[in-house]
């Protein structure tokens, strides 16, 4: 338990453009323990989605991208792995849920077929019937009662909320140790989003899956995560336990974010700077948020 499941150290990323290098990440340090739900919160362009993509190795073939830093997953250096090694992790050890469930599912295959493919990545010898049984079982877990109909449907025949549940089931069916959730359900209605997030939280707790939850929505993060990293322009500015961050934000940027969120209790919206020198202040780490064994 002492070593984190995922440990990202001093991650930097830049892109070569015709105006020189454009830096996206300025040395991120992130760790996630087994079974922990960690949120990475930031605005558009902060580098939060890019971080998830790096973990999945999606920029590896891009010659214009420059990396540095270590990514340690389960004691293995993810950043040094070959494409094949990484590929064998994906879908099995690490899985992912994206923003728009309907477009993340393949429109030309039935849900059942896609489930089968996902199960085959973990167990290439699995029979169709066995796969079907597991799929039905998992669809029940995400509160889909008419699993047979869903497995025989295409993604476009189902509602957004239904597709999101299917995505959650597919992401968890191989019992990954890490789930990357990039703005899950942002494309859905608020009520549907609330339901699916509750479901997802229950399931990952049950299965002891660690989650890196990427979002811009502070309210959603507060309800989902154990621990929070706030990211601003490629720098982590504050991290700590969720209630510490929300009840007692310390970094000027976090404070501005919190103040800017409109409240359902009213009170108007204060005048807040959308940019400020103080947002670049050094990181604030709440007690209990630091790395185990790390001197702080």
């Amino acid at each position: 338990m002492n070593n984190p499941l995922l440990k990202i150290t001093n991650l930097e990323l830049g892109f070569n453009t015709f105006q020189g290098e454009h830096k996206i990440l300025h040395g991120l340090n992130i760790h996630i323990k087994a079974g922990e739900r960690v949120a990475l919160v930031g605005e558009s362009g902060s580098g939060k989605s890019v971080t998830a993509r790096i973990i999945l190795g999606m920029f590896d073939e891009l010659t214009s991208a420059n990396f540095s830093g270590d990514i340690l997953f389960n004691e293995q250096r993810l950043d040094l792995m070959t494409k094949a090694q990484k590929h064998s992790l994906r879908g099995k050890e690490i899985s992912m849920i994206f923003q728009d469930p309907t477009s993340s599912l393949n429109p030309t295959f039935k849900i059942g077929q896609q489930f089968y493919e996902v199960l085959r990545t973990a167990n290439p010898k699995i029979k169709k019937q066995a796969a079907n049984k597991i799929a039905i079982d998992w669809l029940h877990k995400v509160a889909i009662t008419d699993a047979d109909r869903v497995l025989n449907s295409y993604a476009f025949q189902l509602s957004g909320g239904m597709n999101q549940r299917v995505m959650i089931a597919m992401a968890l069916v191989n019992k990954p140790s890490l789930l990357l959730a990039d703005e899950p359900g942002t494309a859905l209605d608020v009520t549907v989003q609330a339901q699916t997030l509750n479901l997802m939280r229950e399931l990952v707790t049950q299965e002891n899956t660690a989650v890196l939850f990427i979002s811009h929505n502070l309210g959603v993060v507060r309800e989902f995560a154990d621990r929070v990293y706030i990211i601003y322009k490629g720098r982590i500015v504050e991290q700590g336990k969720t209630h510490d961050i929300f009840d007692n934000p310390q970094h000027p940027y976090t404070q501005a974010l919190m103040a800017a969120v409109p409240r359902i209790t009213g009170g108007g919206i204060p005048e807040i700077d959308d940019t400020s020198e103080r947002y670049y202040d050094p990181i604030f780490i709440h007690k209990g948020g630091e790395e185990i064994g790390d001197p702080v």
Binding site: G219, R222, R263, I269, D274
Partner: protein
């Protein structure tokens, strides 16, 4: 109701023909006062965008009528009426022509409605840009050189250029980051007070509504479920659906949590 500027009466809208029809709006009635911000709230498919399009005259209602200052709005609107009801869209990226400078986009409104002398129009554009909080130099820039929030300010300036009585705002901040959203909402509030314009604010975000609207229409499946002042909607909603919507909002502080719990208890008590 003596200050009513726009009144929608028994609006119905049916899409499609024969068997495949969808009733997008049924029997929608509401009024808009001078200087009021009326929020139209609902989830996807609730009809909130349809009512916006009907008010803007993009398509006519199947039945029912809209009156603007006691004048009935017909399917083919005069230039004078078009000028009075303007629009700010959700996506600031697509709302501005990528090949035209900011200045040219705003100038279109002045040219079409013949506002100000030709020689003064540059001056008017400068004033509008300053009013929405943008530097004057921006008029020479293309939209690609602006951030999302800045583009949304340009869209607002363009709507103001027509000197309208009403602006329909379709999710004007939902594509923006929360810090930028706060600034745009404040700008909208300021403009409404200074110019006495009325807003029809269409959104799915109830937390935003709480802080900007005077009255709220909650839409569900093409019908108005609840129509009341913002205070009543949030503190003492009459309808179960409204409570359900508010209970689903993710909140960030304790007093919000208390309010939400209170409403969802009331919601559960109904069963």
């Amino acid at each position: 109701m003596n200050n009513t500027i726009l009144f929608a009466k028994n609006i119905n809208k049916v899409f499609g023909k024969g068997k495949d029809t969808v009733q997008a709006l049924s029997d929608v009635t509401f009024g808009l006062q001078q200087g009021e911000c009326l929020a139209i709230v609902g989830e996807s498919g609730s009809g909130k965008s349809t009512i916006a399009n009907v008010i803007l005259g993009i398509f006519p209602p199947t039945s029912g009528e809209i009156t603007f200052l006691n004048e009935k709005l017909l399917p083919e609107r005069s230039l004078m009426l078009k000028k009075q009801i303007q629009f700010v869209q959700q996506n600031p990226l697509s709302a501005l022509n990528p090949k035209k400078t900011i200045g040219a986009s705003i100038k279109l409104a002045l040219d079409v409605h013949n506002i100000g002398d030709k020689s003064d129009r540059g001056q008017i554009i400068d004033t509008l840009l300053l009013e929405v909080g943008l530097p004057i130099e921006f008029k020479h820039r293309l939209p690609a050189a602006l951030s999302g929030g800045q583009r949304q300010r340009v869209s607002i300036a363009r709507a103001l250029a027509c000197e309208p009585k009403i602006i329909v705002l379709d999710e004007p901040t939902s594509a923006l980051d929360v810090l930028v959203q706060a600034r745009i909402l404040n700008l909208l509030n300021k403009l409404r007070k200074e110019r006495g314009i009325s807003y029809i604010f269409i959104t799915h975000d109830l937390a935003v509504v709480r802080n900007i609207a005077n009255n709220v229409c909650v839409f569900n499946q093409g019908k108005i479920v609840e129509y009341a002042t913002t205070d009543v909607i949030f503190n003492n909603p009459k309808q179960q659906y409204t409570r359900q919507l508010i209970s689903a909002i993710p909140v960030i502080d304790k007093s919000e949590q208390i309010l939400r719990n209170k409403l969802s208890e009331a919601h559960n008590a109904q069963f």
